[in-house]
Subunit: 130 residues, 2 copies
DNA sequence: TTAAACACCGACCATTATGGTCGGTATTAC
DNA sequence: GTAATACCGACCATAATGGTCGGTGTTTAA
C-alpha cells in the first residue's frame, strides 16, 4: 500500500520535463535537479520511453522530453508503466482465485481498485504544473 | 501498490466471523475454512485484537469473535491496523521532505491518498456480507 | 485431576521486491 | 577524435513479506 520510489522519481521527473516544455533535458540534468540517483533514473526513463511517455535524442546535446503534451499525460499512465498493471489484489485481474465465486471480500477490493483507477486517471501532468 | 496477503487474509477472516455473528470461532476453524496458514493467521488475529476489532476467549472452546457489530467495522480500520498507517508516499505524513515546499507532485499524491482513505472508510463489514 | 483444545508470544527463516550500482556499447554534436 | 550523451544487461545489498517453529499459559470437559 505504498507508492514506490520509482514512481515518485518518475512523476517528479515528468513534472520537471513538463515545465521545460518541448526542450530536451539530459539524464544528468534531471538527476541533479531532482536529486535522483543517476543510474536509477536511467532505468526509469527507459521504461517511460518504452511506455510512450518520453522521446529521446541520442548523442551529445541529447536528452529526453515529453512525447506528448502535458495535458494528455495522466498520473495513472505513469503508475501503470512504472508499477505494472495495477491489481491491488491477485483475485482481480487475470489470475483466477478458486474461492472467487463465494468470496465476499472481492466486492471491497473491486470498489477500492475502481476508485483508485478513477482518481489516478483524473490527474494530468498539466494540472500539476499549473 | 498492492494490498498485502496479510490484509486479504485479515478481511476474509473478519467477514467469516461477521457471518457467524457473536459466536466464537477458533483459529483452527477459520484457518481451515478460509484456507489461511494457521500460524500466520495467529499473528494477524493478534494484531486485529490489539487493534480493537477482535475479542478472544482462551482455553478449550475458546476462539475469536468480533468485538463490535459488523456495521461499525470499516475496511479502512482493518487496513490501517494490518498495514500500519497508510501513507502512500513518505513526504505525506510525519516524515518531512526537504523539497516539499517546491514539489509539485505532492498535490497528486495527496489527492490520491485522500480519495483512497475515503473509499476504504466507506465500506463496512456489514455491507460485504449483505 | 488430567488431557485436550485453545490463545498467546517471540524467534527464526526463505523468498521476493526494491532501490541502487557498475561496466560497457553505440550515437551524435562540436 | 573527443566529449557528452542514450542505452543495456548484470549485479548487489537491504528490507519487506509470508510463513514456520517451539514453547507457555488458560480453560473446559471427561
Amino acid at each position: 500500500m505504498k507508492i514506490s520510489k520509482k514512481s515518485q522519481y518518475g512523476l517528479r521527473s515528468l513534472v520537471y520535463l513538463a515545465q521545460r516544455d518541448k526542450e530536451f533535458s539530459s539524464l544528468r540534468m534531471v538527476s541533479e535537479a531532482e536529486n535522483i540517483p543517476f543510474d536509477y533514473l536511467e532505468k526509469i526513463f527507459s521504461k517511460l520511453e518504452k511506455g510512450g511517455l518520453l522521446k529521446s535524442k541520442k548523442g551529445s546535446q541529447g536528452g529526453y522530453t515529453l512525447s506528448k503534451s502535458a495535458a494528455k499525460i495522466k498520473v495513472g499512465q505513469v503508475l501503470r508503466i512504472l508499477e505494472g498493471e495495477i491489481n491491488l489484489v491477485d483475485c482481480i485481474g487475470p489470475k483466477k482465485c478458486s474461492r472467487r465465486s463465494n468470496c465476499l471480500t472481492i466486492t471491497a477490493w473491486d470498489k477500492i481498485q475502481k476508485s483508485l483507477q478513477k482518481t489516478i486517471d483524473s490527474i494530468t501532468l498539466k494540472s500539476l504544473i499549473d
